[in-house]
Amino acid sequence: MATETAHAPAALAPSGHDAKQGQQHPLGIYFVIWGLLFVLSTFSYLVDYFNFVGFTRWSLILSLMWLKAGLIVAVFMHMRWERLALVYAILIPPLLLAILVTLMSMESDYTFWTRILFFGLFRAHPGA
């Protein structure tokens, strides 16, 4: 989320809508984003439909996911026009989650190999 919105001209934002009330933007941009979200979602569906695997699958899934999330946060939720104080207060804290995800992926790796060691491989292939 942060990467997409960090480059937005947030510092310039106040002058943009100070005089007017709230977030007023041309309607067109919402239709463009709406269309883009449809296209991107179709692409992510096609990733599964055409059964891409491995690195191709993951890079496609993740980049399409971040693009969609970025468009929703930046335009639909108006983050690119908000003041930097609010943008940073909301978008920086979730970065901490990377630590949780890293720790838990190490932990799950450990659990997986412990299970293999103590329960044996037959649990991995119940059919065998």
Binding site: Q21, V47, Y49, L64, I72, F76, L86, A89
Partner: protein, 226 residues
Amino acid sequence: MTELALEDQDATRLQSLVTDWSTDQETFKRVHWGKAMMWIFLLSDTFIFSCFLTSYMTVRSSTTMPWPNPSEVFGLTIAGQSVPLLLIAIMTFILISSSGTMALAVNYGYRHDRRTTALLMFATAAFGVMFVSMQAFEWTKLIREGVRPWGNPWGAPQFGSCFFMITGFHGFHVSMGVIYLSTIAIKVWKGDFERKGNYEVVEIAGLYWHFVDLVWVFIFAFFYLW
């Protein structure tokens, strides 16, 4: 010393607490308080959903049993042909469309066009109802096929608990959103915000709704496409 002694008295201490927090220390300048509060609520919600998705990642990558293939589990058979993930794809498009109508509603609100705003919000809520109904259909189908929080016919027993917990919590958010949006839409229709001359309440409700769509983007990628 005498001043310090005075501050120890409860009344004075309480007063100092109030003074400290209410002096002119506004951080989010010219941001409606409701909007700042909604963003902070959404931030906390981000952590809740992230905990669900992280625990799902943990159990999925630590199980030694094969994970049920979502592509097949959530497939539909149409005219004898099985189409993978069809229902989920339709649900995704419905939720995106609801986000679109919501974004338009916010825009028309700031134009003080209360009829269009209310109608667009009702349309958004209707899309939300459609989404939850399709989710109810999906749950019914999986429960009939034997998926339980403690097991399922196709593999790792953790599949059920992750599925019900994550999609259930998201569906709960959508349901609450439908009630929230309908309440605001009725107030818009009656002209409450016209009298106040301020439509920011619509934008704040919109933030919540877009967040529900945002969470679905991550659930779709991690739960259905992995």
